[in-house]
């Protein structure tokens, strides 16, 4: 049996979860590498899967060297610096900043209750907006992140468990990613295409969904 990732009553997530989450991210990104490239080829330059996979493979190597018992914040900080220095492109600095801001938001905490988890997601999203200046509807990863953050906040207000909170966030991200399809883009490479971007899903919104789904699934694997 794998080590616990949540507190016995399921109300908080620990450093073991954070590490499991990130390893799961690496797995699903590798699995969806080609698919993300294909999405990016349609309205970008075809490298989003490649970029994310290069980054998360590097993260996994770094995780292997991380002392056990690290806090969620320590794990996320490592992810941030590794993504920043290995991914490149637009997604490297954006996801890198997201994890960096998330790490700062939860720094010091050994476990993350619902409020801290919301803080983590909010800081991540705000970090991306800070760097990329995208709004909802611009057909970027923000179209997945912002609904996810909103759903997490609703879930926290409803007093749901962190597992449920993450599931709702992932579901909202998925819906948000799907909703990018009919849009014209206003940020990123897809914006160069004008009307021709219509009908294609934003790759960064899709990868965001994969990362948040991984968060929910690893949390649920109690």
């Amino acid at each position: 049996m794998s080590p616990n990732v949540t507190s016995p009553n399921g109300t908080s997530l620990n450093g073991t979860w954070a590490e499991a989450w990130i390893r799961e991210c690496a797995g699903v990104i590798a699995e969806h590498r080609a698919e993300l490239n294909t999405l990016d080829r349609a309205i970008g330059d075809g490298d989003h899967g490649e970029n994310m996979d290069r980054g998360f493979q590097a993260v996994v190597l770094k995780l292997d060297a991380l002392p056990s018992g690290s806090t969620p914040g320590e794990v996320l900080k490592l992810v941030a610096t590794t993504l920043i220095s290995t991914v490149g492109g637009a997604s490297g600095p954006l996801f890198g900043t997201a994890f960096l801001k998330a790490a700062i938001a939860v720094s010091g905490a050994d476990t993350l209750h619902a409020a801290a988890t919301v803080a983590l997601l909010t800081a991540a999203r705000d970090g991306i907006v800070l760097r990329g200046k995208a709004q909802v509807g611009d057909k970027t990863m923000i179209d997945a992140w912002t609904p996810a953050v909103d759903a997490a906040i609703d879930s926290q207000h409803a007093g749901e468990s962190v597992v449920t909170l993450l599931e709702r966030a992932a579901d909202a991200a998925a819906t948000g990613a799907l909703a990018t399809e009919p849009l014209v883009a206003h940020k990123g490479r897809a914006s160069y295409l004008g009307e021709r971007a219509i009908g294609h899903r934003d790759p960064g919104a899709e990868s965001t969904t994969l990362l948040l789904r991984a968060a929910a699934e690893t949390a649920a694997r109690a």
């Binding site: 490298d47 920043i84 490149g88 760097r131 490479r189 160069y192």
Partner: protein, 333 residues
């Protein structure tokens, strides 16, 4: 996909190693992280100039490293902006105490990664200025988009800013001249065939045998519109329209006319294009004072070309004519 490569993962590594072997008189190469600096870097008291971006646009930027042009080039993975680490390392390697100018093409990834590197360099006490290149008139302005892309006009900025740095201008002046060139250059391109990114193994888009893409970028991304193949002269006219009206370029202007190959188009076609472009400028009373023709800002093996026009004045002509000694652009020494 047919390419002269060994492994898609090693394309950039191996190409840079080959570049080092071929041009050791002009450059030195760092392999981890990857960047290319001029052989005598850092030049004490001179503003350093660093450019970079995804690979696949060669000779841009490595081919422009050398006296009178770039002090360093930072190649990322194919069509992917480099990360901040090599940009920072290159910035440090070329800092001769007079500060460093980053020449950045306007893509979200390039801008963000250079921004981070600049922050880190600043934290280490290196003064950094940045100029963002956005010469591509095929893209609507930044109210609706990520802003105009930096394309072949970048070469002209790098040459002219390089000359300003070489003659001893300070960082603010070199940045000013780079901004000035960027503000006076306009470009637009066309693709006849897509390119194939090595790791993807498939064309970046598909075009029928009688279709071309107008308003293409330099990353194999689709262009502004897809039309039926036309005679070269008609295609040239299509590109020149938006270019000329944008600045605008008007009768009496002195310009540099730059016909840039996308990598897979034979030179004979580039000169057919140049002929028509020169004809049209003459009809507009625009004086072609300087010229450049060749593969300078490429998209791997893509067939196609872009036209760039830069409005010149005496300062820019003097800097353009100044000696340059790089692998891809060389005169005066």
């Amino acid at each position: 996909m047919k390419k002269l490569i060994n492994d898609p993962k090693n394309v950039v590594n191996e190409a840079v190693a080959g570049f080092e072997a071929a041009h050791s008189d002009l450059v030195r190469v760092s392999h981890d992280p990857i960047f290319i600096v001029r052989a005598d870097a850092p030049v004490a008291g001179k503003v350093g100039i660093v450019s970079g971006g995804g690979s696949g646009h060669e000779p841009m930027h490595g081919g422009f490293v050398g006296a009178g042009m770039l002090d360093a080039a930072v190649p990322g993975a194919v069509f992917t902006s480099p990360t901040p680490d090599p940009i920072l390392a290159a910035t440090q390697a070329v800092d001769g105490g007079a500060g460093v100018l980053h020449i950045v093409k306007n893509y979200t990834g390039d801008v963000l990664n250079f921004e981070t590197a600049a922050d880190l360099a600043l934290a280490e006490g290196i003064e950094v200025a940045a100029v963002i290149i956005n010469d591509d008139v095929a893209v609507k302005d930044s109210l609706y988009t990520a802003g105009r892309r930096g394309v072949a006009g970048t070469v002209l900025v790098e040459k002219i800013a390089g000359a300003a740095a070489e003659r001893g201008d300070d960082l603010a002046s070199v940045a000013r001249v780079a901004d000035k060139v960027n503000s006076l250059v306009r470009s637009m391109g066309v693709a006849l065939t897509p390119c194939v990114v090595p790791h993807a193994g498939e064309p970046s888009f598909t075009l029928a045998d009688d279709e071309i893409e107008i308003g293409i970028g330099i990353h194999g991304e689709p262009g502004r519109e897809r039309i039926k193949l036309e005679p070269a002269d008609a295609i040239v006219d299509r590109l020149l329209g938006p270019i000329l009206t944008d600045l605008p370029f008007v009768s009496g202007d002195r310009v540099l006319l730059f016909v840039n190959g996308m990598g897979g188009t034979p030179q004979v076609e580039l000169y057919i294009v140049f002929r028509r472009a020169a004809e049209v400028l003459a009809e507009h009373g625009i004086d072609i004072a300087r010229t450049l023709v060749g593969n300078f800002t490429t998209s791997l093996e893509m067939q196609g070309m872009s036209i760039s026009i830069l409005k010149l004045d005496d300062e820019l002509i003097t800097l353009w004519d100044a000696p340059v000694a790089t692998a891809a652009l060389r005169w005066g020494r």
